[in-house]
């Protein structure tokens, strides 16, 4: 095996306790540039807690996560001050929520939602930002004539597309996704997954995708992390984990997928 580029994110024994209740326990992994990591497991297994910790939204009880930042070089995101962490989140990360209402500003138009990250990074030229916005709406296959409509006037799938455009327009290096296709019907889900996969490959993004849907994991992820009760019970290449599950829980998880 040839020498690889250094990992983009190096997670070292991250634990989060809510009092006596465990969120996630001693999670460690490396994420390489351009790699997509899927985190799977049942409800309450700690997937989202882990994602919230790694994206700097929640302070872990212990552990560290070193991110290879453009601005700072390798930094432990939990050691950064609030100002630097917020800047890192703004400049180099994206976060796609399961519910677009959590990730969008519902009071302003879809176009302004997509353009906001540009303004947060100092964009002050309306015409340029407008062009970037319409470009991105095209890329996520939305009707440009509806750019000024409020998010509530879009369907769930369209709202999710707006949210994805908003999180990719500033060309982040790492995108966190929490059940990005969770609330959508199957056909919309399939199209959105297709789009996401294409964008992620085109942009050479790294991503951490939390999902309970094995189909999403199979389609999107290069590697999988299987969680149960806050512990990582199995990890490996996606096909390996899904086709030849070692841990009994993973076997149960894989076998419980409905076959039509």
């Amino acid at each position: 095996m040839t020498t690889q580029a250094p990992p983009l994110l190096r997670v070292n024994r991250v634990s989060k306790w809510f009092g006596e209740i465990v969120g996630c326990r001693n999670v460690s992994f490396d994420l390489h540039p351009g790699e997509i990591l899927g985190v799977v497991g049942e409800s309450g297994s700690g997937k989202t807690t882990l994602l919230r910790c790694l994206s700097g939204k929640l302070e872990p009880t212990s552990g560290g996560a070193e991110f290879l930042s453009k601005r700072h070089g390798p930094v432990d995101i939990f050691q950064l001050g609030e100002q630097d962490r917020r800047r890192l989140q703004r400049e180099e990360w994206g976060f796609v929520h399961q519910n677009p209402r959590d990730g969008l500003r519902m009071r302003v138009s879809g176009g302004a939602n997509v353009a906001e990250p540009l303004m947060s990074l100092g964009g002050r030229h309306y015409g340029q930002m407008r062009r970037a916005t319409t470009d991105w709406l095209e890329r996520v296959e939305l009707d440009i004539s509806r750019v000024d409509h409020k998010p509530r006037n879009f369907s769930g799938g369209m709202q999710q597309r707006i949210q994805i455009a908003r999180n990719l327009i500033h060309q982040p290096r790492l995108v966190f996704m929490d059940e990005p296709t969770g609330g959508l019907d199957v056909s919309v889900q399939a199209r959105l997954l297709d789009l996401l996969r294409e964008l992620v490959r085109d942009l050479q993004l790294s991503a951490i995708i939390v999902t309970h849907d094995m189909g999403v994991a199979r389609l999107m992820a290069d590697r999988l992390l299987v969680m149960k009760n806050g512990d990582v019970v199995e990890t490996g290449l996606t096909d390996q984990v899904l086709d030849d599950a070692q841990h009994p829980y993973t076997q149960l998880l894989v076998s419980s997928v409905l076959q039509l």
Binding site: E82, V108, G111, A112, S120, Y126
Partner: protein, 303 residues
């Protein structure tokens, strides 16, 4: 058992402390004002008191005025630019009664000018204090309802969000359509709402020789623009800031450069434009300036 005051004391002692507020409260508000002046544009929290008028009628401005007013001050109060509207008359009477200060309608004579909607047309001088009654001190509130989040944004100077409102405006109207409470950056640091003054008045904040104090009673915030401070209105590179303009002149005094109110005269579509600053208009007419409808009945009412 409380001690009954003698009949003599009841007759001579004032019913309220000077300028209504007790001295401890005034000290607290003065300390807040000093901090606000030290950090131009920063919203300083303060313990807003119950006032004898409802929130929304200028309680923030009244508390600021009550804390800084002294017996030698000359007080002017305007509402929508006019000295003779109900709220302005009531607040002026309040201070005439409670602080026994001289009151005036003349911008030049006043040492303290309390206002909600306007900055007078006449240039302000050193030593004058403008007191603004602010309904919503937080310019980001309409876009970000969480106070914890807006505080962090101010602390870290993350003002990209404010541009979202401008972006919305341009995409809807092809121009920045906001006309009042137009957000400004004070001394290239803090984002500030200049209260609901028209954006026509925003340039008057920039490098003004007068001290500008902003009091929000319900929201419990005081902020300030010290004299000779840079104040910049936000805009886009391709959509620069601009103020309102009118094709008409003031119908009474003929002023071309002042902020004009439109007055509907009848249901036949007749209307007139008059200076919103009643003192400015009156002074101009006294100097002999004549507008196209100078003999209108309104001329008598506002002079």
């Amino acid at each position: 058992m409380s001690v009954q005051p003698t009949a003599q004391a009841e007759l001579t002692a004032p019913l309220y402390n000077f300028a209504y507020l007790d001295e401890q409260t005034k000290r607290m508000i003065r300390r807040t004002i000093l901090k606000a002046i030290a950090i131009p544009g920063y919203q300083v929290p303060f313990g807003s008191r119950e006032m004898p008028v409802p929130y929304g009628w200028g309680t923030g401005g009244i508390q600021v005025t009550a804390s800084i007013i002294g017996r030698s001050d000359v007080f002017k109060c305007i509402d929508q630019g006019a000295d003779d509207t109900t709220n302005a008359v009531s607040i002026r009477r309040f201070f005439a009664k409670i602080a026994e200060v001289a009151v005036t309608e003349s911008t030049a004579e006043a040492t303290i000018i309390q206002t909600r909607h306007r900055i007078p047309e006449k240039d302000l001088q050193e030593g004058q204090v403008m007191v603004f009654q602010v309904p919503q001190p937080e310019p980001l509130r309409g876009l970000e309802p969480r106070e914890t989040e807006t505080r962090a944004m101010h602390a870290y100077e993350e003002y990209g969000l404010q541009y979202v409102s401008l972006y919305e405006s341009v995409s809807a109207y092809r121009r920045i359509a906001a006309t009042a409470s137009y957000p400004v950056i004070v001394d290239e640091r803090y984002l500030m709402s200049p209260s609901p003054i028209p954006k026509f008045d925003n340039p008057k904040l920039h490098m003004s020789p007068a001290l500008m104090l902003f009091g929000a009673g319900r929201e419990k915030r005081i902020y300030a623009v010290p004299p000779y401070t840079r104040v910049r209105s936000l805009d886009f590179e391709d959509y620069p800031f601009e103020t309102q303009r009118w094709d008409d002149v003031c119908a009474l005094c003929g002023a071309e450069e002042s902020y004009l109110d439109e007055v509907v005269l009848d249901d036949q579509g007749n209307r007139m434009f008059v200076c919103s600053d009643s003192n400015h208009c009156g002074e101009r007419r006294a100097e002999g300036h004549v507008g196209p409808m100078a003999d209108h009945a309104l001329a008598g009412a506002t002079s």
